[in-house]
């Protein structure tokens, strides 16, 4: 195990330049990307306190509410609502329309891509049961604060419109009923007046009965008209009351700030840097492993360790000059005199 590891270490040392280049090839662009990510991220946050009106005025009977455990906290609820709003193009377009990104959006050839890019940069996070943080990460300073502010405004606008729409629906319904009742009362009144005009003097019993019937119809129509009018007035009030009861207080505690220096990019940059470094290390390790596996040259005693049943008798160190020439010279050319061999073979 130690010998095998030693082989890899030696390969890494021998190919240090290749390993370093491989590492650098991945790590340097990755670290540069991380630096760029950090330097070009300008995040702006808004911290919002959200509270349901029912919760605020005391949740009477809340202990008896069977849906108590199924209900999410206002913080989570509003975060989800915000994130759902962000998924809609109309909301994003409305937000962009209130910021300095509007010209860029209008100039963009691929508007869907632009919207998706903006959408990805919004973040919603429930910090607690009643606390929400909305944030936006921009590439330029100032934009983020604009976007968060615009998003809050757009959300508020949408909530108001939704309330108005709800009120208008009930009002329209009762208004329609009132108009019908009004027409019925008018018809009954007209019929009674025509009957009175067509009869003079004392009325026979049959006409008197008919007159009573017409008066009764007028009274009924008038009664219904009054009833619908009352309902119309009550409906408007009850819708407002219901809206107030179900509404959520949305109070911005910390307004988005336009920081001139990069903020919020640390996490993303760290992730990019970590991935780049991990990838670079993995690639360098792969290079070393492949080089070690493919290289079957024997470099040292560790290289001989693969021949397990063979004795390694000794090691001859590398000599500065050619060992063979030096040895031959020692054995055969030790003096200036011709050697015995040369004398015999001459």
């Amino acid at each position: 195990m130690g010998g095998a590891l030693e082989r890899y270490i030696q390969t890494a040392k021998r190919l240090w330049l290749l390993v370093a280049l491989t590492f650098a090839l991945v790590a340097v662009p990755g670290l540069f990307a991380a630096y760029t990510e950090y330097m070009t991220t300008f995040q702006s946050d808004a911290t919002v306190w959200v509270e349901r009106a029912t919760q605020q005025y005391g949740a009477t009977g809340a202990a008896d509410d069977p849906n108590l455990f199924g209900r999410s906290s206002p913080g989570v609820e509003q975060t989800e609502i915000f994130l759902q709003l962000v998924q809609t193009n109309s909301f994003i377009i409305e937000v962009i329309g209130q910021t300095s990104l509007q010209p860029a959006y209008e100039a963009a050839e691929d508007k869907d891509k632009f919207l998706n890019e903006v959408r990805k940069r919004f973040r919603g996070q429930a910090l607690g049961t009643n606390l929400v943080r909305l944030s936006y990460q921009a590439r330029e300073p100032g934009i983020a604060a604009e976007m968060v502010t615009a998003a809050l405004v757009a959300r508020e606008s949408r909530v108001k419109n939704a309330r108005l729409a709800a009120t208008a629906t009930s009002t329209a319904f009762y208004q329609k009923e009132f108009e019908i009742a009004q027409r019925q009362a008018l018809v009954a009144q007209t019929a009674l007046e025509q009957f009175n005009r067509s009869r003079t003097g004392p009325l026979p019993a049959t006409d008197e009965y008919q007159q009573n019937q017409l008066r009764l119809a007028v009274d009924v129509a008038q009664g219904r008209l009054n009833d619908v009018r009352t309902r119309l007035e009550r409906g408007t009030v009850s819708t407002a009351l219901l809206d107030m009861a179900e509404s959520v207080q949305f109070q911005v505690i910390d307004r988005p700030q336009a920081d001139p220096f990069p903020t919020g990019g640390t996490r993303g940059a760290s992730l990019i840097a970590a991935v780049a470094l991990a990838g670079a290390i993995a690639l360098a390790v792969c290079v070393v492993i492949v080089a070690t596996v493919l290289d079957n040259r024997i470099r040292d005693l560790v290289g001989l360790s693969r021949f397990r049943d063979v004795e390694v008798f000794g090691v001859v160190e590398k000599s500065s000059n050619t060992a063979r020439d030096a040895t031959v010279q020692t054995l055969f050319d030790a003096s200036d005199e011709p050697s015995a061999i040369r004398r015999r073979t001459a």
Partner: protein
């Protein structure tokens, strides 16, 4: 680390181990898997070092008819040598020539066009073994002349397979070991190794 005084001191450790071996390693063969591993150099250096570490006579036999560098280095290319001895045209003792080293002699290859028969090898080798304390044989590469190396391994007390560091291919060494496996298992000698190869861990591995 001590300063080395002569080229042959590179082989002192190997020679000392051979001399101190309880197995009476008197006849030693040096070969490589292929040409260029430095077997001839190690054989020559070990013979010279053996001549230094003890006082008995040492004989180098150049049995490498493929690449007779020892014979060429001695300038004895034309001298009668091992080939003539094996053919019986000359007595082995008569073919032995002295070197500049007082304890070391050489039996040159005796360069001929045809390879000599090896039938007389045991008797020739036995006669030389009586006159020399150590007989060091430089053999051709295993993968080039497998049959020749196997024939020699029968008469040798120990066969060494020399592996040059940084160039020796493990696959070739494995092939050489496999080729010799039916007859003998040579010991390995790492040649031209970096000095770091002698660090404690490596030495422990050698002493295994």
């Amino acid at each position: 680390m001590s300063e080395r005084s002569s080229p042959t001191s590179l082989f002192d450790t190997i020679a000392a181990r051979i001399d101190a071996s309880p197995e009476a390693l008197r006849s030693l063969g040096f070969t490589g898997a292929v040409t260029g591993e430095g077997a001839s150099t190690v054989a020559l250096g070990t013979a010279a070092a053996l001549g230094d570490v003890q006082s008995g006579p040492v004989l180098i036999i150049d049995a490498n008819w493929i690449d007779h560098t020892v014979t060429d280095g001695a300038g004895a290319r034309d001298a009668p040598g091992l080939a003539a001895c094996l053919r019986g045209t000359i007595q082995a003792k008569a073919a032995v020539i002295p070197t500049a080293h007082r304890n070391v002699s050489l039996l040159p290859a005796g360069v001929e066009n045809d390879r000599p028969p090896l039938g007389e090898l045991p008797s020739v080798f036995a006669s030389l073994g009586r006159d020399f304390r150590y007989v060091v044989v430089d053999l051709p590469p295993v993968l080039t002349a497998t049959a020749l190396v196997i024939s020699w391994s029968v008469v040798l007390a120990r066969l060494f397979l020399v592996v040059r560091a940084d160039s020796g291919r493990a696959s070739l060494v494995q092939n050489a070991l496999s080729a010799l496996a039916p007859v003998t298992t040579p010991a390995l000698i790492l040649n031209a190794a970096d000095a770091r190869a002698r660090r404690p861990a490596a030495r422990a591995y050698v002493a295994r």
